[in-house]
């Protein structure tokens, strides 16, 4: 089981000491950027998330793993209220970001989504130019100044490690980029509105290994400035990129803790079976 981590390749950087052991996902509130308490989610009458309680720390990468259909996507999409657009779906409980429950009546969802960026499994560049894709979030936010737009476009593309590949063709269609480039474009597009939190739902699952490596390296760099939650069904990936890992099963949070612990010394038998590939 230990070989699991060793053959993952990419050397892991030294991490700042993370939280102490926590009971059922809770950490000391000071470090938590996102606090989830007893969160349930329903699609019509079907309850797909059951009493999720966990703290997601600031400027770290938190991976959500678990078998397909266990509610990982539903959970990340709850954190920017992306599920609001699904008819008859609703969440109950508390998800606090910076101390405010985003499910409160008064929440400005548009504002929330600008602060909590999202990258999807299937890259979804708009059928517009590369420039227009990155500038989109700013433009709908009312920025018109050409210079400011250009600067942000460049900065975002640099952060997403895409600038050198596209700087000479910013006015070309984004649809002409390769799959991996499109996904980095989508990351750049999310970064352009200057979010604090970045949600990624299997961002590399449709990419080849080289493109995947690029995305993973990018995630490593981004976590210096962003709080990242990444869903992945690839356990090596979770082991490579994340500081903390949460294992979901049938809509329940089974175990949550430091990634090393989850992979090498899990508390639950179910977690161990899953991370060692015995099922799922």
């Amino acid at each position: 089981m230990t070989t699991f981590l060793i053959d993952t390749g990419t050397p892991r950087r030294i991490k700042a000491p993370v939280m102490q052991t926590q009971i059922n996902g809770m950490a000391s509130p000071a470090e938590a950027r996102i606090r989830v308490r007893h969160f349930d989610f329903f699609y019509a009458d079907a309850k797909v998330l059951h009493g999720i309680t966990m703290d997601i720390p600031d400027r770290q990468v938190t991976a959500l793993i678990g078998p397909s259909g266990c509610g990982k996507s539903t959970f990340v999409r709850s954190m920017n209220r992306m599920n609001d657009i699904i008819p008859d779906a609703h969440g109950e409980g508390v998800i606090e970001i910076d101390g405010r429950n985003i499910y409160d009546g008064g929440t400005d969802v548009v504002e929330l989504r600008r602060r909590v960026g999202m990258v999807f499994q299937k890259s979804n560049p708009f059928p517009k130019s590369i420039f227009e894709n990155i500038a989109y979030g700013l433009k709908i936010g009312g920025v018109r100044n050409r210079r400011q737009l250009s600067e942000t476009v460049e900065k975002s593309l640099r952060r997403a490690a895409l600038w050198d590949e596209v700087k000479d063709r910013l006015n070309d269609s984004a649809m002409a980029l390769s799959g991996g480039q499109q996904q980095r474009l989508c990351i750049a597009r999310a970064l352009a509105v200057d979010p604090e939190i970045l949600l990624m739902d299997e961002p590399a699952s449709a990419l080849d290994p080289i493109a995947t490596t690029k995305i993973e390296e990018l995630i490593w760099e981004l976590k210096e400035n962003y709080t990242i939650v990444i869903v992945t069904h690839n356990m090596q990936q979770a082991a490579r990129v994340s500081d903390r890992t949460a294992f979901f099963m049938l809509g329940r949070l089974v175990e949550y803790g430091e990634t090393n612990t989850i992979f090498m010394n899990p508390r639950e038998k179910m977690t161990e079976d899953y991370v060692t590939g015995r099922f799922g």
Binding site: N80, M82, G117, F120, K122, N124, K128
Partner: protein, 282 residues
Amino acid sequence: MRYATRRKIVSRVAEALCAVAVLLALLPLVLILFYVLKEGAGALNLAFFTQMPKPVGETGGGMANAIVGTLILIGLAGVFAVPIGCLCGIHLAEYPETRFSSVVRFAADVLNGVPSIVVGIFAYGLVVLPFKRFSAIAGGVALGLLMIPIVVRMTEELLRLVPSGLREGALALGATRGRAVFTVIVPAALPGILTGILVALARVAGETAPLLFTSFNNRFWSLDVTQPMASLTVQVFTYAISPYDDWHRQAWAGAFLLVMIILALSIMARLAVRRLERMNRG
């Protein structure tokens, strides 16, 4: 081995059948073009495009007023039908479950099935009677009413084809729903919508019945949309039922031109799609 030969034979036969089907579909088009050209070619000359109709008995003359009239009429139809049709289509695609949507859908279906002459009568009652005169506007309204259901349905279906990921991408960046529709979803469907509009224009360009008592006809040069206006279809109809050989030839020439205009609109639709698709795909 034997299986492979069999497979090849089946494939050949299928290909041949397809080719025959294509020919059968193309044959009427070619025959129509050929026949109309053969009959109308004699009268199709520069004068046909530049001159006004001559009085009975004098040979020559053209249909300049009817050509321009048809273009103005379908232009007016587009002006009336495109905004209404597109907005209704957007509403249907975005809020398919609302009461208003079921009303719009029903109305579009009914309107689609109404014979064009009845639509003409309706436009007559709506525009001609109150203003007490035939006018190009009335003709444009009649043609526009015929266009609306086509535009509504096309817009709705094309918007539905836009991948939902684009909408989510826009919403995730803080776009409101309406914003996402108008800045991402509609632009993504635009090539198709434009084609739909051109196809709808081509369809109503060939209408005669609804124009008979709306834009009526005009023997003179007129660009005044509040006055009766000549159109190719009505002119062809008038000439075709006349007893004069010269007018019959003119009618054929008019018919040929009409077919060409419709063909041109269809080709434009094609080109528009290609250009926009290239932009979208990169």
